[in-house]
């Protein structure tokens, strides 16, 4: 028997019989086996859905998704197939789509998407199925019943790729008890600023106005200020954020938050700003009307009895808020259950279900539902009126209409932060305008479907 020497390296020489596969050969064999397995898996040809496979819906954790959960058994009975719904946050949903659809995933059938944030990108990537014939070829579905602004946002590159299910406008949330002496809610932005300055007692932790101040997060709510000052993100395809109207909107919003808002507001988005108003520490708050229930929930709010709702105040160009489809439904182009997925969308966004959901407090996109007073009884009276007025005056977008929306929001949000921090807005806006112009040129080049 040969004994190993004292050094481990000699063990290898001693213990490796000639017939044993070397490490290099083993690696090559393993790689070949993995390659063969991959190829065989990839070449399995056209696949059909398992009859027992559930219809899979990927959705955001939203009051809409929570509300429809109780109606799903009705639909399951109708199509004879189980429905499985997975709820995620907006960012997680986006990440999941990006990973799974890049790999042509078939385990997503119905997709909840933000038409204004990612629809162009998803369409360009070929992830959303064309719904044009389905929505237009079904008289009972009544596609024309959808409000014009949300309906237009469902179309990308000439095809309908999504159906709006939840709409949003900005609401002016205000403290009725504090505004009594001022004759109620302000009708104009100037009035709101004046009252905010008068009511703010920042040293004692009370603020005139609270709102989003985060660079990217604030852009969507600021859009209504921009429109009401007569500006827009783009004008004839060119950057519009360097115009006098946009600069005035930047300066106004900056002053409102800098002089009457809470400290650290440039780090605040919805999650941080909303609780400040809910705790009774601000006189005004402008944000999506979809979040109104937070102020009526005793577990969260201390202003249940004092909160009031009003339409967006008028600026120099009138009251021009956004009226957007915040969430829409689409069908994964790789889904093996596209017909069932459409049946689901047809059912949940049909006139009857939209009216039922709206009666439960979820604002939809169908005009017939808005015309039916019964669907508005679940909303506080002044909120319902504010929604109606804002929907009438609203524009269909609240952010730049581009492929890389996140990058665009970062650029547009830069002068916003400058205004809040007290820096001079015009030079920052001019710089951002130049950057946004370059960005738009690059973004347009990518719009090849």
């Amino acid at each position: 028997m040969t004994m190993p020497s004292s050094r481990p390296s000699s063990w290898r020489a001693h213990g490796t019989p000639a017939h044993v596969v070397s490490r290099r050969s083993f690696g090559a064999l393993a790689a070949a086996a993995a390659g063969a397995a991959t190829l065989s898996a990839c070449s399995s040809g056209p696949r059909t859905a398992d009859p027992n496979a559930p219809l899979r819906i990927m959705a955001i954790n939203h009051v809409w998704s929570q509300a429809i959960a109780e109606y799903l058994p009705e639909f399951e009975e109708q199509i004879g197939r189980r429905v499985s719904m997975r709820l995620l946050t907006a960012d997680q949903l986006s990440n999941s789509y990006n990973v799974k659809l890049n790999a042509s995933a078939t385990d997503i059938d119905v997709m909840m998407v933000r038409a204004l944030q990612e629809q162009i990108l998803f369409t360009r990537n070929g992830w959303l199925a064309d719904l044009t014939d389905r929505v237009e070829g079904d008289a009972a579905y009544d596609w024309a019943d959808f409000q014009e602004a949300p309906r237009e946002r469902s179309i990308t590159a000439g095809t309908v790729v999504s159906v709006p299910i939840v709409t949003e406008r900005p609401a002016l949330y205000y403290r009725r008890d504090l505004l009594e002496d001022f004759g109620g809610a302000p009708a104009t932005l100037d009035e709101m600023l004046e009252i905010s300055l008068e009511l703010a007692d920042r040293n004692n932790g009370f603020f005139g106005y609270v709102g989003r101040g985060q660079r990217s997060g604030a852009v969507t709510q600021w859009s209504s200020f921009l429109y009401s000052f007569g500006g827009d993100f783009t004008i004839d395809g060119e950057s519009g954020i360097g115009t006098p109207e946009a600069i005035a909107a930047y300066e106004f919003y900056g002053r409102l938050l800098a002089e009457t808002g809470p400290p650290g507001v440039t780090n605040m988005s919805l999650e941080q700003a909303m609780p400040i108003f809910a705790q009774g520490k601000a006189a005004f708050y402008i944000d999506a009307d979809a979040i109104y229930s937070n102020f009526l929930d005793p577990g969260i709010s201390t202003v249940i009895d004092t909160v009031g709702f009003a339409p967006f105040p008028a600026g120099p160009a009138g009251s021009v808020p956004h009226n957007i489809p915040s969430w829409s439904l689409g069908i994964n182009r790789f889904s093996l259950l596209q017909d069932d997925a459409w049946e689901f969308i047809r059912w949940i966004s049909g006139p009857e279900m939209v009216a039922r959901l709206q009666a439960g407090g979820i604002p939809g996109a169908r005009q017939s539902a808005w015309d039916d007073q019964a669907t508005l009884t679940s909303f506080p009276e002044d909120l319902a009126e504010s929604m109606r007025v804002n929907a009438e005056n609203g524009k269909g977008t609240d952010r730049p209409d581009v492929i890389q929306v996140g990058r665009a929001r970062d650029i547009v949000g830069r002068p916003l932060v400058a205004g809040i921090t007290g820096a001079s807005v015009p030079p920052v806006a001019a710089d951002a305008d130049s950057e946004f112009s370059d960005f738009l040129i690059r973004d347009n080049r990518q719009r090849e479907f």
């Binding site: 004994m3 190993p4 004292s6 481990p8 390296s9 063990w11 290898r12 213990g15 490490r23 397995a37 991959t38 898996a41 990839c42 399995s44 955001i60 954790n61 939203h62 009051v63 929570q66 499985s84 997975r86 709820l87 995620l88 946050t89 907006a90 997680q92 990440n95 999941s96 990973v99 799974k100 890049n102 790999a103 042509s104 995933a105 078939t106 385990d107 919805l270 999650e271 909303m274 609780p275 809910a278 705790q279 999506a288 979809a290 979040i291 229930s293 937070n294 577990g299 969260i300 709010s301 201390t302």
Partner: protein, 296 residues
């Protein structure tokens, strides 16, 4: 008298000088000790504060959580824990996390511990470095090809895919902790075992492995904690039946609001097993992580 005075003078002055120097030394020691205590207290507070805040928030209402004027003095409520348990998702996902964590840790240890011994004993440095690449490559960049492959073979949504993906992270971790550990063990013990007739693997199994138990335990605890907290793999590769705890926590965050109380209650529940694992494994963790430090 004068003699007494002359002699007595140094004898009086000397004892007064010595206590002064001793007092100074004692004073300096006391100051250092005090400074050290304060530093430790500040560091402990910084580390513990988020955990204290999390536990306190778990017993508050949402109004109290978001009100900065409510500190640690409040009327506690168990409502958040009741809500967290109400739909059963938390318990189910805790079980899933436990299954995936235990399986991936055990299987990783079975693979990585012998591998670490081989790398340490047979000077397979390049092989060790190759395995480390798995830790260098960002996990997100692997998810698309992984998802594609696993979807093609029908594994997405199963425990298998979660265990395999977690092993991808755990194997290099255990391997590299254990390489140092095995290199620190005296080789003479294994040589003696070989002399007595054990095979190379036998000497690993009967001699090196028992001696490396503290290192294995430390590596396993760290691998389990890593698996328990892993979010990204479960987000993409799990389905509704196999979702793990970190993903389920996000059920408390919705589009327009966050249930902070519920979220903190669930986070507290999620933290408890990790703290328990750390407490029980502490002895091994310290021994395991410092092993090899005095090698040579």
């Amino acid at each position: 008298m004068s003699t007494v005075t002359t002699v007595g003078a140094p004898s009086v002055s000397s004892p007064t000088k010595r206590p002064t120097a001793a007092r100074r030394r004692r004073g300096r020691r006391r100051l250092w000790s005090w400074l050290r205590g304060v530093t430790i207290a500040v560091v402990c507070l910084l580390v513990a504060l988020p955990i204290i805040w999390m536990i306190a928030a778990a017993f508050k209402t949402n109004v109290q959580v978001t009100d900065p004027s409510v500190g640690l003095v409040f009327s506690p409520t168990l409502e958040n824990f009741r809500n967290a348990f109400a739909d059963g998702a938390i318990l189910g996902s805790m079980l899933n996390s436990l299954i995936v964590g235990v399986l991936s840790t055990v299987l990783s240890a079975i693979l990585a511990v012998p591998a670490a011994w081989a790398v340490g004993r047979f000077s397979m440095g390049r092989t060790g470095s190759l395995v480390l690449v798995a830790r260098i490559v960002p996990a997100i960049s692997l998810l698309v090809p992984w998802y594609y492959l696993f979807a093609q073979i029908g594994l997405v949504g199963s425990y298998t895919v979660l265990v395999l993906s977690h092993m991808f992270v755990a194997v290099p971790l255990i391997l590299w902790i254990m390489i140092g550990f095995f290199e620190g063990l005296p080789i003479e013990l294994e040589e003696a075992a070989r002399t007595d007739g054990l095979s190379a693997f036998g000497s690993f199994l009967r001699i090196a492995l028992p001696l490396a138990a503290p290192g294995t335990a430390a590596a396993a605890v760290l691998a389990f904690i890593g698996s328990w907290n892993n979010f990204m793999f479960a987000l993409i590769l799990a389905d509704e039946n196999t979702l793990t705890m970190p993903v389920t926590l996000f059920n408390f965050i919705s589009y327009a609001s966050t249930d902070w109380g519920g979220l903190m209650a669930a986070a507290t529940l999620m933290t408890v097993p990790v703290i328990l694992a750390a407490i029980f494994g502490q002895r091994y963790l310290v021994a395991g992580l410092t092993a090899g430090a005095t090698k040579g």
